[in-house]
């Protein structure tokens, strides 16, 4: 009986799969998770934990954005909206119950997922009916509209002031579990680890999605839609699937964000600044490289947290000209510059450039 014949592609995949635990990237991933878990024990400063938690949350949100923008090739400004949907679900459910329980959180998460799916399907269907550029502009207008709605529909969203709420049980900020091995156990710590676990799970989910057959079809649709259709793939189904998946993950990330801050308002979770941040993160990280989301989220969040202080300190060294003082206040300006410079000189982003270098070195080695 002849041995089963594998195609070259299948052979390569088998080889990759077999060696997946010994590759350097896997070890880096393990090391990363260990570091993240160790941070609250090693550097218990609130600011550090805050930055790291936000990086994890945004890494997930940006990775899910990469599915839509980088892998499916759809320019959409609506992603921030889904983030806000998740955040507000958690916030409002917990707000309306004086003593929220764990199941409320699950309820809210479920609600967020259902809502996101419905809206995502609408968005996906709409994207198929209009040209890409119109779709992009439409999502920009709609995202802005939802932002304004967040302000104005005070009956639902409590308007500008936002929603402040309590978390149940050991997640509550008031919970105190005493000391354990020299660390103060409190609600914040528990929420941190909850976010760590869920983020890792969601992120791995995104990676799995992208590496799966579905992900491969998406790449082929992005690169050559007509050919994919000719090969028999129902592009519509795949597009809807990818948009729904990406949006639901984003709303879950938003839910985590709400858990962390115990507070949401239209500007932080629904606004254009959030959307622009995510866009910059995905570009800096690299489009079409899910892991780029981590890099981008880390870079932007760290910059956002420490740049204002850095600027003020720097300006303190210079003569007290008012113009310079004002410039230091306007660190957003440097973000804008970053946008322009990254697009012009670094369009593949960090991960993209690294992958290119690795690929080029591999190709050179093969030729030699």
């Amino acid at each position: 009986m002849p041995a089963a014949e594998f195609t070259p592609v299948q052979l390569q995949r088998l080889r990759e799969h077999a060696g997946r635990y010994s590759r350097p990237s896997f070890l880096i991933q393990i090391a990363l998770v260990v570091c993240l878990a160790a941070i609250p024990l090693v550097v218990p400063s609130f600011r550090t934990m805050d930055v790291v938690a936000k990086i994890m949350i945004f890494a997930v949100a940006v990775a899910s954005f990469d599915i839509i923008l980088g892998y499916t090739g759809i320019i959409s400004f609506a992603h921030g909206m889904f983030f806000g949907l998740g955040a507000y679900s958690i916030a409002l459910v917990c707000y309306h119950h004086p003593a929220p329980q764990y199941y409320h959180l699950l309820l809210a998460a479920g609600l967020a997922m259902v809502l996101s799916t419905v809206v995502a399907v609408l968005v996906a269907v709409f994207s198929l009916r209009v040209k890409a550029i119109f779709f992009a502009m439409m999502t920009l207008a709609v995202a802005e509209f939802v932002h304004i709605l967040g302000y104005q529909w005070s009956d639902l969203t409590m308007g500008e002031d936002g929603v402040s709420f309590k978390l149940p049980g050991i997640l509550a900020s008031t919970w105190d579990g005493g000391q354990f091995l020299g660390t103060q156990l409190n609600g914040r710590l528990v929420v941190y680890y909850l976010i760590l676990v869920i983020s890792v799970v969601l992120f791995l989910g995104v990676v799995r999605f992208v590496r799966s057959p579905v992900g491969r079809v998406l790449k082929s649709v992005r690169d050559n839609e007509r050919r994919s259709m000719a090969l028999g793939y129902k592009v519509i189904h795949y597009r809807i699937l990818s948009i729904v998946f990406g949006s639901v993950i984003s709303s879950l990330a938003g839910a985590l964000f709400a858990l962390w801050l115990s507070y949401v308002n239209p500007d932080t979770v629904l606004g254009t600044p959030l959307m622009l941040n995510m866009l910059l993160m995905v570009i800096i990280g690299g489009l079409g490289t899910v892991y780029g989301g981590i890099v981008g989220a880390a870079f932007i969040t760290i910059t956002e947290t420490w740049l204002p202080d850095l600027l003020k300190a720097g300006v303190g060294l210079l003569p007290p000209v008012e113009l310079l003082q004002r410039l230091a206040d306007r660190w957003v300006l440097f973000f804008g510059l970053a946008y322009v410079l990254v697009v012009l000189f670094f369009p593949k982003g960090v991960m993209g450039t690294i992958r290119d270098m690795v690929a080029r070195r591999a190709a050179a080695r093969e030729k030699a």
């Binding site: 119109f134 207008a141 306007r330 510059l337």
Partner: protein
């Protein structure tokens, strides 16, 4: 079955034209609907307000639509030109106020003040357009995603520089005396500046259409919107024309901003983003590359906004997004865009 028969009958009797006529009748008649909920006097006041707002939106949208139609460039920094025009106009009027030309101005002084503010805003807008086109836009022709990103970045930088130069707070815009207040025409109160805005808008529309229809440049631009390559092969340096068009669009947006400031009597650093959303909606409704389309679209947006703002204030912006969505679904090329 019935719809098949209808379509067949329609097609036989020059159906496409009938559908066009039906569309235009609906598009026109819909503006009389609010009369069911608003009394005629208020309706007239709102209509004038709507047209005035429309004219000012047209100034911004006209540039955006030609830039996209001709150059295939999506310029999200267009709102920044608008904001800069407003702030520059604000400074001019403040300076003139120091000369006593604004608060207690004569008719002549008022007109000159307004024209001066508009003219400087025009020049500054154009200058910024030149810089942006040469430095940034040139690098990203052909790539929509890069254009979106880079113009967003540029927009952020420009807005932040406004905050650096003028401060981050809202400012009150001084309006020359002769343009303050309103006319009372048979119980209908019409704000004076709104009339000025409508006049200005009509003049600009007339001027732009004159250039587009009667001059060689207009022919070149209209041809380029349809087919860039052919225009190049006929010996025209399309890049220089692009730059010129971009500058003109930015200049108009700047002028629109200065007038908007006087219209609202207030300027904010965020007014650029607000205007961009409106301009995008107008361009989509009107059709990419069509000046008359954006004229009509701007009127529609202005009217819709004002009627709905009166009846249900929270939905004013939402109504315009709804119109945009409907147009995208039933007539994606817009009112007067090219049928693809």
């Amino acid at each position: 079955m019935a719809s098949q028969a209808t379509t067949a009958t329609l097609d036989a009797t020059g159906g496409r034209d009938v559908r066009e006529i039906v569309f235009w009748v609906c598009a026109g008649g819909i503006w009389l609907l609010p009369l069911m909920a608003i009394d005629p006097t208020t309706y007239l006041v709102l209509t004038v307000a709507g047209f005035a707002m429309g004219m000012l939106l047209f100034l911004s949208a006209a540039g955006l639509t030609i830039i996209f139609g001709l150059m295939d460039v999506l310029n999200l920094a267009h709102g920044a030109f608008f904001a800069w025009g407003a702030y520059v106009g604000f400074s001019i009027l403040n300076a003139l106020s120091g000369l006593g030309w604004v608060e207690s101005a004569t008719m002549g002084q008022s007109i000159v003040s307004v024209l001066l503010a508009m003219a400087v805003a025009l020049v500054v807008g154009g200058g910024l357009g030149l810089i942006l086109e040469r430095v940034i836009i040139k690098q990203v022709y052909g790539d929509h995603l890069k254009q979106i990103l880079i113009t967003m970045g540029a927009s952020m930088v420009m807005a932040e520089i406004i905050k650096v130069l003028w401060g981050p707070n809202n400012e009150v815009m001084l309006v020359p005396l002769a343009f303050q207040g309103s006319y009372d025409v048979a119980d209908v109160v019409i704000n004076k500046f709104r009339v000025a805005a409508i006049v200005a808008g009509l003049l600009v529309y007339g001027g732009v259409m004159l250039v587009m229809l009667k001059t060689k440049l207009g022919i070149i631009i209209r041809a380029g919107v349809e087919n860039r390559e052919v225009v190049q092969t006929l010996g025209y340096n399309i890049n220089r024309i692009f730059t010129g068009v971009f500058i003109a669009g930015a200049a108009l947006a700047g002028m629109g901003g200065a007038m908007w400031g006087m219209f609202r009597e207030q300027i904010t650093p965020a007014m650029g983003d607000e205007n961009l959303i409106f301009a995008l909606i107008v361009v989509i409704i009107g059709g990419m590359g069509s000046v008359t389309g954006s004229f009509l679209g701007a009127c529609m947006v202005g009217l819709a906004f004002n009627y709905v703002a009166f009846l249900m204030p929270k939905l004013a912006l939402g109504v315009n997004i709804l119109i945009m969505a409907i147009i995208l679904l039933i007539r994606p090329w817009g009112l007067l865009g090219r049928e693809q």
